[in-house]
Structure formats: C-alpha cells, structure tokens
Amino acid sequence: MKTIGLLEIFKKYAIFFVMVGLIILFSLLTPYFLTMQNLTNVFVQNSYVIIAAVGLSFIMISGGMDLSIGYQMSLVGIVTSTLMKNVGLPVAVCLIIGMALGILLGLFNGLMAIILKVHPLIVTLGTMTIFQGISYIISNSKSILNLPKSFKFIGQGYLFGFLPVSVILMILIVAIATIILDKTYVGRFIYALGSNEEAAHLAGIDVKKLKLFVFALCGFFVSIATIILFARTGSGASSTGPGTEFTCMTAAVLGGISFKGGEGKMWGVVVGVLILGILSNGMQLINMSTYVQYVVKGFVLLAAVGFDTYQRESAVTAK
C-alpha cells in the first residue's frame, strides 16, 4: 500500500521532481549554477514569463487558447512607453492606461471568439496580427530608449536591498491566481467550462460572460508581465514581447495544463516556466550553443507531453 502511495505522489508531482533533478544536474556540472546570485537571476529573468503564463493558463483551463499574448505585450508596452517618453504623462498614469489597454485587448479577443463562434486559437491568430500592426504603426519601428527611472525600478529594483520587485509582483500574482482558481466559485466555473461546455451551460453558468472574463483577466496579467519586461530592459520596441506566447504555452503544457481544458494547477505552470528557465540558464553556464538549447528544450516538451499521455492511457487500461 505504501509503495503505491509513493508512486502516486511521484506521478502527481513528477514535474516538480524533474525540476529538482535539473537543479542537481546543473549543480554537479558547473560551480556557477547553485549560487544565490545565479538563482536570483533565474527568477528575475522569468518572473514576467510566469505572470503571462498564469494569464494564458486561465484561458487554457477554460478550454480556449491565446496566441496573441506576445503582440499584446508588444502593443501594451509600446503604448505605455510612448505615453511616458514622448507624451510625457506621469508614470503612474501610464501604468494604469497600460493595464486598462491589456484588459481591453483581452476583451476584444473574447468578444471576437463569441461573436464569430470560432475557436479562440484561430481568433487570436488574427488578432495577433492586428496587434502587431498597430504596435509597429505607433512605434514607427523605432526603439524608445531611456525610460524613466521610477518605471525601470519595477523591473530592476530591489526592496530592502535583496528582494527583486519583479519577483515580489510575480509571487503576488501567482497567489491571487491560485486563490481565484482554487477557492472562488469563479474558478470552479472556469474548470467547469473547460471540462464540458454544454454541461456548464446547462448547469446555469453564463458561459459567454465567463469567457469574456477569462480573456480580460488574461489581458490584465499580460499587461503586468509587459510592464515588468519593459521596465527590466529599460527601453521599448515593438519587437519586445513576441515569442513569449510559445514559451508560455510550452510551460503550461509542461506544468500539466491540459490542451483540452478543465485541468491544471497554477503551481504546475510556475514549475513549468522554471524548468524552461533553469534549462536555458544551466545550458548557457556550461557553454552550450543557443541552437543546441532549442533542440534540448523541444525534446523536453515532447518527453513531458508523452509521459502525461502514457500515464493517462495506462490509468485507463488499468481499469
């Protein structure tokens, strides 16, 4: 009985053990890996990815998908930077406008998915291109350099000299997201929507409203991720952000968010992002070329997904 229990735990938290395994592996391979400085780096570099991935996970759990996250970041970032630098609005006002814009873009995605009755994957494939265009029109393909110091503090600053602001924000967001999903009825409804839309509808859930909410929530989280990313780089360009959507998707799948919806936990997503982050960081430290890193990351994803499916199938046949 006890061995079965251990096995169950191992299966349930497999992804966590993979992360621990990677940490041990890189610690043995290079002395530079397991240092306070380096681990802090990994967190700082990935906090914005975690926040965006949390947003995406809400949509994925509800049974949807958002490919436009990267260009939402590009657009929100450029608008915020332009208002700060070229228009000269106070930083606080720009941040509020940036977050409002994020929510608006999410709502637009959700609205389109509902009106057109098309899977969000296709809808966001379209809106992604729209956001990209608008972002480049506003920036005119030029970078905006030297963003205000108070803004950069969000991405580069430390509280009490050792707590990175971005990491604190990330922890806060993950906590809020976990509470929404696990403790509130809204979270339950999101799982219900993702696991069986028809049954959710017949259970009295206002499915359309909920979809809009989920997309808006994702837009909000993405805008926060944007602010952290742009503040860390200290400059704004339309090319900052795109690509994040695929990292987030990879991390979400690694972390056990089902593509079909209805399943997944926030801690899994965090571990998913960290695994990707540790892999990049560790491989860089042992001087692996960037391109080899891509190959390794790709195989890690396939292995994770394969393991998940295999486990499900064996669970089914065992019955």
């Binding site: 403790k183 509130t184 339950r188 409804f189 219900a192 696991s195 009295g204």
Partner: protein, 493 residues
C-alpha cells in the same frame, strides 16, 4: 417472390443490462419492400446494424444468398451488395455530387473526374433525376435532395439489399412521393428494400410485407394487403407491463408551470399546465420534439413566441441560469455529455449549480459543500466509497443520481426529466422511480419525457403526446393505454 436473398436465423445480441435482439429469425425476398416496425427500443436499429456489419451478434446466423455467416464485417456486407441509408446522412458536404456517389471506390492512382461525372449522370438519369448536376457541391443541396444522392450512391454500387432507416424523416409530402417512385423502380429491378419507419401510413402505401418487433423479439410478419393499422399497433404494444412502480400518496395540487402557445426549436403551439404533486408524461416518437420542448422550458434554446408562467407569474428564460432561478431544473437526456462533469469529483458536481449560494462572497464554503453533498449522498443513496471519487468511475445509475442531486441542490421544484432511466440497470431504475415519487409527494412537479412505454404508463398522472412538434393528444390516467399513446404518437388520430 420465392427466392430468398437474405435470411436471419436465431440472431441474439446482448448489451450490459439489455437484450437488444432475442433469437430473431426473419427472411427477406428478392424485389420486395419489407417494412420493419416497432416502438423505440424494439431492436430495429440493432437488427439493421447486424445486417450491415456494424454490430457483431452474440449468436445466430446470417445467410446472404447461399453463403452463411456468423457475423458480417462492414466490408463483407459491401461485397454482398448490402447498402444502408442511415437517418443521419453519410455524405461529405464539401465534395461534389459525383465525388460522393463514387466515394470509397478506387479506379487507379489518379481520380478521373470526367469518368466519375459520367457515372453520376448515368445513375441519376436511371433514377429519373435530372435537376441535380453532378458538379454541385453536396453541402449546398437541401436535405431532400441529399436523400436522393444517398440512394444514388447505393444504386451506383449495385445494391441488392437496400436498408432505409427512417428515410422520410427530413422530407415533405411531395418529396416522399418522389422517393417512393424511386423505391418502386428499384424494387422492379429486383432490389430488396428493408424500410424502417415510424409512420404507419407510409408503410401501407409502399411496403409489400411488414415485420413487427417488440423488446428485441420477432413478433410477426404480415402481408400488407392482409393487415391494418389497428392490428399492427396491437402487435407493437402487446408487451406485458412486468415492472412494478412505487405507489405514491398525493393528489395534484396547485399550478406550478403553465405554458401558452410555445413556439420555437421546431415545436409549435404547445400549451399545457403542470401541477405540484404531479408527474406529467411527455410521449412521442424520436424526433417528435420532446427534448426540444425541454430545452425551451429550461432556457437552453431560444423561444420564438409564447409565454411561460411559473407559480402564476410570467417569466422570461434567456439562459438556463434564469430557469434555475425560477426553480426549474433539467435532468438532461445525455447524462455524460450534458448532465455532469465526468472528470470531476462527485461533491464538485453536486454543488456546481448552486455554487453561488454556498459561497461567502467569492469564496466557496468547503464546509457547506461537504454538508450539502453528503446530505444528497444519503438521501439519494449514491453508492461510492468517497465523495471525492470522479464521476466517470461511477455506474450509470449513480451518475444519474449525481445529476439529480445537482439539480435538487439548486432548489429546483419543477423538474424536467429527459429519459430518466436510459441505460440504467433494473435495480437503479427502481431507486430513481422511488426518488421521483418522493419528490412529488414533497410538493414538487415533474415533467417526464420518456421513450419507455412501461415507464410512461406506470409513472405518469397524465400524458401529453407530441407528434411533429405539436401536441397530438392528451390522456388522463383512466384513459391510459399503449394503443392510444401509439395512435397519437404516429399521427393517426
């Protein structure tokens, strides 16, 4: 008339809990139109699936021409020139008429379009259809013409035995006549047609012989010239009412639900009232618009016109959530797809429809969830080691109890049961009946849609029969009889 093209000997097919076919033997002659009739669940569909190779029988023999088989594969059925036209079309909407007619046939590596179109023209010409071009995309045709393409497909494969399952369902009267012409032409060419229909009047105008089935058993085969509607109905309903139903001590009370001139979703002009303490049975054949009515009353589909009154108050139901607020609950027909969340736990499912009411602010009160779901576990006798168990691991009967618990937990007192005991074993059925009786004794009102004649007659206080989206008759308890229900359901009266 004497040469037998297909004979079936002692075919039996069992599914868990039901015997779909019970030692059925039957013969089909060359060039006859042989009708198969019976109530919902009489075994007609399973029988044609056995003939077409879609279902493997447990025992018995199928003799096609001179060859005997213990079971057919779909491929063997095709080789024996057995073709089926199912209720749902098997056409590819995105392809042309010609491509559909030649679908699945291979002639060399490359597709020869002109050859295909010529063949389609030839087949359609033979059937006397000139208005359809082989190049037309099938998706653009109305369903009546799709039906003709289905027939053409079978003809082009040189069908010797053609099975038609409810072929007239999507057709108008004029179109049915056209289809009959083609059926007669095929018959004269020596094709055997097995014709399944709920509409008895059609059978009298097209069939040569008719076989009646009931409860998976062969009952009788009659020459159409020697029988009549009354006799067929008597044969169809001759089932004994063996199940017993719990007795309940209550009289219908005040009015709970009233609908007036309800239209929408294919139904029209539906008016009735439902009282507290009453079970109102809704009968009708498949496709008569019963589930559609349930969805209208639950706000799941849009109402075109008409009004709904709950407790003498007019209500507007735009979403299922509105209906739940008014105390209307639905136990849907397909419990796995519509009724519950299979991948989630039992307690999770129990409270999903009343989640807001057991939440403090935004937060779900887990304690309340436990109390509430445990109380339903006890009341409904849900058999499980733990309420954390996933619903998919439960038996059909227990799954149904979870769906009922979910609906009751939302404080519904007007309950719509759509096929309350479909796919449930006998013991669990009795428990569901007992629960339904307790509900009405406690002053709730039940609308029960069922295809099970015994259940309908045994449980209802009153019965409304639907035919083609309209009420064709209403029966009071003292008028209950299987014949009456079937007459109304077949549109005879």
């Amino acid at each position: 008339m004497d040469d037998i093209v297909l004979s079936i000997k002692g075919i039996t097919k069992r599914y868990p809990g039901v015997t779909a076919l019970d030692d059925v033997s039957l013969e089909f002659h060359k060039g006859e139109v042989h009708a198969l009739v019976g109530e919902n669940g009489a075994g007609k569909s399973t029988l044609i699936k056995v003939i077409s190779g879609a279902v493997t029988p447990d025992s018995g023999e199928i003799i096609v021409g001179t060859k005997g088989y213990t079971s057919l594969t779909p491929h063997q059925a095709k080789e024996e020139h057995i073709e089926v036209i199912y209720q749902e079309f098997n056409l590819v909407d995105s392809l042309s008429v010609a491509e559909n007619i030649s679908f699945g046939e291979r002639s060399g590596t490359f597709v020869n379009f002109s050859q295909m179109e010529n063949k389609a023209l030839e087949v359609l010409g033979m059937m006397g259809i000139t208005q359809i071009s082989p190049k037309t995309q099938v998706g653009k045709l109305p369903s009546s013409q799709k039906q003709l393409i289905e027939i053409a497909k079978s003809v082009s494969r040189d069908a010797k035995i053609l099975i038609m399952d409810e072929p007239s369902a999507p057709l108008s009267v004029a179109e049915v006549d056209k289809m009959f012409e083609i059926v007669r032409m095929l018959k004269n060419k020596g094709v055997t047609i097995i014709y399944i229909s709920h509409r008895l009047d059609e059978i009298f105008s097209i069939a040569d012989r008719v076989t009646v089935m009931r409860d998976g058993k062969y009952i009788a085969t009659k020459l159409i010239s020697e029988t009549g509607t009354q006799e067929l109905i008597a044969l169809m309903v001759g089932r004994e009412l063996k199940e017993s139903y719990p007795v309940r001590n209550c009289e219908p009370g005040t009015e709970a639900l009233k609908v007036e001139e309800l239209c929408g979703n294919g139904d029209s002009g539906i008016s009735f009232t439902l009282h507290r303490g009453e079970i109102l049975g809704i009968a009708g054949l498949v496709g008569a618009g019963r589930t559609e009515l349930a969805r209208l009353l639950f706000g799941a589909d849009k109402l075109d016109s008409g009004s709904i009154f709950v407790n003498n108050r007019k209500v507007e139901l735009h979403l299922p959530g509105d209906a739940l607020c008014c105390g209307i609950g639905l136990i849907p027909e397909d419990r796995k797809q519509q009724g519950c969340f299979l991948e989630k736990a039992i307690d999770w499912n129990c409270v999903i429809s009343c989640l807001k009411s057991i939440s403090r602010g935004l937060f779900v009160d887990e304690e309340q969830q436990k109390i509430l779901s445990d109380s339903y576990r006890e009341k409904l006798e849900i058999k499980t080691p733990t309420m954390r168990q996933l619903v998919k691991n439960l038996s059909g009967g227990n799954q149904q109890k979870v769906v009922i618990a979910k609906t009751l937990a939302a404080n519904s007192d007007i309950l719509i049961f759509d096929e309350p005991t479909r796919g449930i074993d006998v013991g669990a059925k009795q428990e569901i009946y007992k629960l339904m009786c307790e509900m009405v004794e406690n002053g709730k009102a039940i609308l029960m849609i069922t295809s099970d004649m015994q259940e309908l007659l045994g449980m209802s206080d009153r019965i409304i029969v639907l035919y083609k989206g309209q009420i064709s008759g209403e029966l009071r308890k003292e008028e209950f009889s299987q014949e009456k229900v079937l007459e109304y359901a077949s549109g005879i009266q």
